[in-house]
């Protein structure tokens, strides 16, 4: 009984203090195709469902275009293209993750579906990008294995600042 209470207490503490707890990091996981990916939650300022996007002629092919989120101009990046994955059309489940860059630009990452927030201790993060494709490895922090799941952790900074 006492044991149960202790477990319960610690899981509560985990939930409330979240990332502040030593070695525990929060990630937002999302889907691209059939695979799960995640980026650090603290760097995502907002999730929006696809507003009308205006294409920008002559822009790099992995930039979908620009859109406005409440007066804020957002450059929308097709994350599939940037990672060298197969490109598909946006669906009803598609979302745009907004993130601030150092240059002051707001970049939106187009993903197929937003899943949920995961918390990983450093033990659950496997730092090895070499097993993945070459295009990917530049942007990969490591692989997360929350509860037997398999999530590719992406380095947001390297993806939007490059």
């Amino acid at each position: 009984m006492a044991d149960l209470a202790r477990t319960r207490h610690s899981s509560l503490a985990r939930r409330t203090t979240g990332s502040q707890q030593a070695g525990l990091r929060e990630f937002l996981s999302f889907r691209l195709g059939n695979d799960a990916y995640a980026v650090e939650l603290a760097r995502i300022r907002e999730i929006v469902s696809s507003p009308p996007v205006t294409e920008v002629p002559r822009s790099p092919s992995d930039i979908v275009g620009i859109c406005s989120v409440r007066g804020l101009l957002v450059t929308v990046v097709d994350l599939r293209q940037r990672l060298g994955l197969e490109v598909t059309a946006a669906t009803k489940l598609s979302r745009i993750l907004l993130t601030n860059t150092d240059s002051g630009e707001v970049v939106g990452l187009l993903v197929d579906e937003v899943r949920h927030v995961i918390r990983l201790s450093s033990a659950e993060i496997e730092v090895s990008g070499s097993v993945l494709g070459a295009d990917l490895s530049d942007h990969v922090l490591g692989v997360g294995r929350p509860d037997g799941d398999f999530v590719v952790l992406l380095d947001l900074a390297s993806m939007v600042e490059s």
Binding site: R58, I66, C67, G71, T75, S103, V107
Partner: protein
């Protein structure tokens, strides 16, 4: 907390900047006065006050370099105002150098770096070499029957002014006025300003005579060249009693300042009444910066980003307004006529207020062009002196207002143009004499508003542009085909000045030849949505005209549709729009052209240039239009599918990841939540016509 400190620091920098600018203005006025052999002690005094305030501020914010510079500069200015140091061209040069150094020092302080600025020490050394000459010889004041008690309470500065005035042969008067205590501030200012037109008020002291409970009697000591009658006519109606202070008779003139002689005309002045402190007596002499603070109290300093944010809100309100309008239409269409018209009238009044608000914010962003002109005046003086050319600068329209952001971007291009005018335009003295021009070259800076634009003209009375030399050089560089030379219009020849790599002088000078050509000037002006034109007459001079939009925040744009996409084109560069007659389109030099009123107009099909794929389900437009855009004297027709009307838009810059994309100056939100790209006609014209220039070069190479 840290934010508050940063904010205070920011304010320090902008206030310091203002003080330096006011110092610069004072020095320029002093320079003019010096040339006209006049003396204006007020200007030295104001300069002194600005530096004094700056010193205090620098101390408060730990800006050591600014503090050190101010400290020494204050000493020099103090010596100047006390007459211990004569004002010469050399001293002014040093003072102007200090102004430049302030700019450097402030930017170093801003970065919070600890780099020393050796230039400051260099200048301080030169200040020290000026020394300070104490004037010798008997006091000229001895000639006047002045009350010693009054002389005793004069500040060193006042005494100096008094001596100087007497040396200039001015007469001294005592003006006695009875002031009501309640209105003394205003009344005193009024009488001082009236007296100023006759001479200089050296000091004013209370007489101590009891005239009433709520009045006070003051004696003003006035040095003036006017006669007693004139003074009485001008000051008498204020109830002032004016008496001249007599000259001593030669036999009674003492050798020194013997206190034994009591002047008869000026009754003995008692020491100031105990209740009156010295600072109340002469606020402007003892509390530097007070006058400046009074002015500032009426104004608020605002970060321009805050105004941008407000402007964004207004832009969003405009979107709400459009949505309301659409809703009104829908309600009316669905039969709710009454409700629809009510909504319509509300929307109309909303629209008006919104317009007022927008104008209000725009007005706040406006600053007078005088800010840039002051800086230019300094450059003109400096370059003129260093090149040994006597330059007279004539400024008109300094009060013309323009967007703050434009003013900041304008400084460099204008500086370059003015340098060019002095260096290449104005002849050396011997040459001017030979052709019968006045010795001093004139540079005129004129600014005025013309509709939604501000026009700035830079005019010099130099020898004009050597058209033949320009053409020769353009041919040598392959910019113009030799066969085309004969067909070049004069305006086209002048425009060659803006072609990269074209400078008519073989050797570049220190000032204009810093690798920055007129092409850069032109590019910078174009970036501001401006147009630059040049006209020159041999032996008469050159005139450069810059036309700029009043503001960058909001531009009128023409909305066009190209292959299903909407683009905005700033109206500033649109000359006209016409229907495209495909039968008129011919191929010339590998590109499409048409003839418009007898002139060949190259055509750019935007859909093709941008590689736009047709949208699914789209039908080809039956009729196309050509929007004629101009950049200086160059024209290009943009072929578009449809014209969708005019709209005021707020341009937002594209993000860094799109900074390499050419042809767009930004994006704007249309009413329906959609974003439209704003075309950059200047860049597109440049790009399209450069294409033809390279093909011409290729032809030259093979032929």
């Amino acid at each position: 907390m840290a934010e508050g400190v940063d904010k205070a620091r920011e304010e320090f920098f902008s206030e310091a900047q203002e003080l330096v600018e006011s110092l610069s203005r004072n020095l320029l006025a002093l320079d003019t006065a010096l040339r006209n052999k006049q003396e204006d002690p007020g200007l030295v005094n104001e300069a002194f006050r600005a530096v004094h305030t700056l010193k205090g501020l620098a101390g408060l914010f730990g800006a050591k370099r600014v503090g050190t510079l101010s400290h020494r500069l204050e000493d020099v200015l103090d010596s100047l105002r006390l007459g211990r140091l004569p004002l010469t061209e050399h001293v002014l040069d040093l003072l102007f150098r200090a102004v430049e150094l302030y700019g450097d020092a402030l930017s170093v302080e801003r970065t919070r770096s600890d780099d020393p600025l050796p230039a400051i020490d260099g200048l301080i050394d030169e200040f020290a070499r000026l020394g300070s000459e104490v004037p010798t010889g008997g006091s000229p004041l001895a000639r006047f029957e002045l009350d010693q008690a009054m002389l005793a309470v004069l500040t060193e500065y006042e005494e100096h002014r008094l001596k100087t005035c007497v040396e200039q042969g001015l007469l001294l008067y005592r003006v006695r006025v009875d002031f009501a205590l309640a209105t003394i501030d205003r009344a005193l200012e009024e009488i001082k300003s009236r007296a100023k037109s006759h001479g200089e008020v050296i000091t004013y002291l209370p007489t101590g005579a009891s005239t009433g409970a709520d009045t006070i009697e003051l004696d003003l000591l006035l040095a003036s060249g006017s006669s007693l009658a004139d003074l009485e006519a001008s000051l008498g109606n204020n109830g002032a009693i004016i008496e001249p202070i007599r000259l001593r008779r030669p036999e009674t003139a003492p050798s020194g300042t013997s206190p034994s002689v009591r002047p008869r005309s000026l009754p003995s002045l008692p020491a100031p009444a105990p209740g009156l402190s010295l600072s109340e007596r002469a606020p402007e002499a003892l509390e530097p910066g007070v006058a400046a603070h009074k002015n500032i109290a009426q104004t608020v300093r605002v970060d321009i980003r805050k105004l941008d944010a407000l402007m964004n809100v207004v832009g969003e309100l405009a979107i709400v307004k459009n949505a309301l309008a659409r809703l009104g239409e829908r309600i009316r269409a669905e039969g709710g006529r009454q409700l629809g018209s009510e909504l319509h009238s509300i929307q109309r009044s909303f629209d008006r207020r919104l317009g007022e608000m927008q104008n209000g914010i725009l007005e706040v962003r406006m600053v007078p062009l005088g800010q840039v002109f002051d800086r230019l005046a300094r450059v003109v003086r400096q370059i003129g002196r260093e090149m040994g050319k006597d330059i007279r600068l004539v400024i008109t329209g300094a009060e013309t207002e323009i967007d703050k952001l434009i003013v900041e971007e304008l400084s460099d291009p204008l500086m370059h143009v003015v340098r060019n005018a002095i260096d290449h335009g104005i002849e050396v003295a011997e040459e001017r004499l030979r052709v019968g021009k006045p010795l001093a070259g004139t540079i005129a800076l004129n600014a005025f508003q013309k509709g939604n634009h501000v026009v700035i003209e830079v005019e010099d009375d130099g020898h004009g542009i050597n058209e033949a030399a320009i053409v020769e050089r353009a041919v040598a560089l392959g910019k113009v085909h030799p066969e085309e030379v004969a067909q070049l219009a004069r305006s086209e020849i002048f425009n060659l000045v803006f072609v990269p790599g074209l400078s008519t002088r073989k050797e570049a000078s220190d000032y204009s030849g810093r690798g920055v050509g007129m092409d850069v000037v032109k590019t910078n002006i174009s970036k501001l949505g401006g147009v630059i034109d040049l006209h020159s007459e041999a032996e008469i001079g050159t005139k450069l005209t810059i036309t700029l939009p009043v503001t960058l925040a909001i531009v009128s744009a023409l909305l066009v549709r190209v292959v299903g996409r909407v683009f905005a084109m700033p109206l500033t560069s649109v000359a006209e729009a016409i229907t495209l007659d495909e039968t008129q389109v011919r191929m010339l030099d590998g590109r499409e052209v048409m003839t418009l009123r007898g002139v060949t107009l190259p055509i750019c099909r935007l859909g093709r240039v941008f590689g736009l794929a047709p949208l699914p389900g789209a039908v080809m437009a039956k009729r196309q239009y050509v929007v004629v855009a101009t950049l200086g004297s160059r024209r290009l027709g943009f072929a578009v599918d449809d014209l969708q009307g005019q709209q005021d838009i707020v341009i937002k810059p594209l993000g860094k990841s799109l900074s390499n994309v050419r042809g767009f100056s930004g994006a704007t939100e249309l009413g329906d939540q959609r974003v439209a790209l704003v075309l950059d006609p200047a860049a597109l014209i440049e790009e399209m016509l450069r294409g033809s220039e390279t093909s011409r070069e290729r032809r030259l190479g093979y032929g």
